[in-house]
């Protein structure tokens, strides 16, 4: 390879990233769970509701909070907008995840 070409180098365009994701922000973290309302959003997989109940039970040893339970229709789909709106209205924080 000619010296000049090697020195000049090349650039590559980064294939990753998305303009929409770049705008996403994390919600502010809570400083305590005491006195808060915690949403449990199960993902519709078998026993995912039970897993979240166990998580809440572990947290309840340390904090006193109330619980709102909701569930998605399908593990592979985003929660319906009404569910998101309900959680936003009623809860200070939400615990969700995959149970199977």
């Amino acid at each position: 390879m000619a010296q000049g070409v090697a020195d000049a180098g090349i650039v590559m365009l980064d294939p990753s990233g998305s303009p929409e994701a770049a705008l996403a922000r994390r919600a502010p973290r809570l400083d305590t769970l005491d006195g808060k309302t915690i949403g449990l959003l199960h993902n519709a997989k078998k026993n995912s509701d039970k897993v979240l109940d166990l998580v809440a039970a572990v947290l309840a040893r340390q904090y006193r909070f109330s619980v709102v339970r909701m569930g998605k229709d399908s593990a592979s789909r985003a929660a319906d907008p009404e569910i998101i709106a309900g959680l936003k209205r009623e809860c200070d924080a939400v615990i969700t995840g995959v149970g199977d």
Binding site: V5, V11, L13, D14, P15, G17, A21, A75, S76
Partner: protein, 343 residues
Amino acid sequence: MKYTFTSPQVPVPDFLSGIEKAFELGWTDGLPVIPPTPERVEVFLDALGMDGDTVLGGIPERALLFTAEKVAIAAAMAGCRPEYMPVVAAAVRACSDPAFGLHGPSASTAGVAIMVIVNGPIANELGIVAGQNCLGTGNRANATIGRALRLLLINAGGSRIFDRSCFGHGGKFSMTLAEHEDTVWEPLHVQRGFDRDDSCVTVFAAEAPNQVINHFTARAEGLLEVIADRMRAMGSINMGGKQEMAVIIGPEHQQILLQGGFDSKEAVQEHLFRRARRKVREIYELGMIDDPSRLDLDGEIVAVPSPEHILLVNAGGVGRFSAVVPGWSGMETSRSVTVAIER
């Protein structure tokens, strides 16, 4: 440069170190990629005739969008020829249809690939193969069109975080084929309401193909019984009773079916639908049903909910084989989607 690219630029000393850098940055499927220089990507965007910020699809659950720029980068990296771009773009649009539900099949532990079936005149024009080794190696269009889609998912689609495949399979590198359309059977896209002269892409969330061997029968019903037996395999995801399934009939098997009077795909689909089922009790006795109270144990579970949920494809080379390709999850979460290729 004609375009102003928005993607960050990664400088490297030369082409070869670009290949290594792509591995280091996690951009690849495990094989080397062609470094996506702005000059190269511009050629691919030109072939698409779109601005880089045109949105072709995305995964809303992940807040990710697929812009034409990212699709062009993926296709350049995959080793596509620029003229494949309309097919790649159509596959991206089809996958992004809410009915396909891309988040699920690209995250699931079931590790499915995306089978891309290309119909219409564009298949011949671009050399997308329906024959020998169509789901294997050795053909650039088949290998790189599916690869472009996979590299898009790995990078712009968040697979590095979300893909939880237990095994995955070779089709995740690429799983693209065309169909033999010069027979009395209607091509898949015509069955789905398009004209023969339309060029279309169908995407289907697909397990690895299960090859069905039957070298000796000359009896159509016997052959279909062998295929149906594979369709109703006990451990198949399709025994959930709610999934589509692709069945690829090899040309030599098709001859037996034609001689046996199965002169339309619909006749084959109907026959397979009736035979590819099992007694609920058989499955229950093996502990594969968690809540029998909701089911009639004397009833049947079907491999597909109806005949049209079999994607019947006429492909393959010489040899008395067909292939059964199980689907993924249920149709409320992912259905195959066919779109016309815009060009």
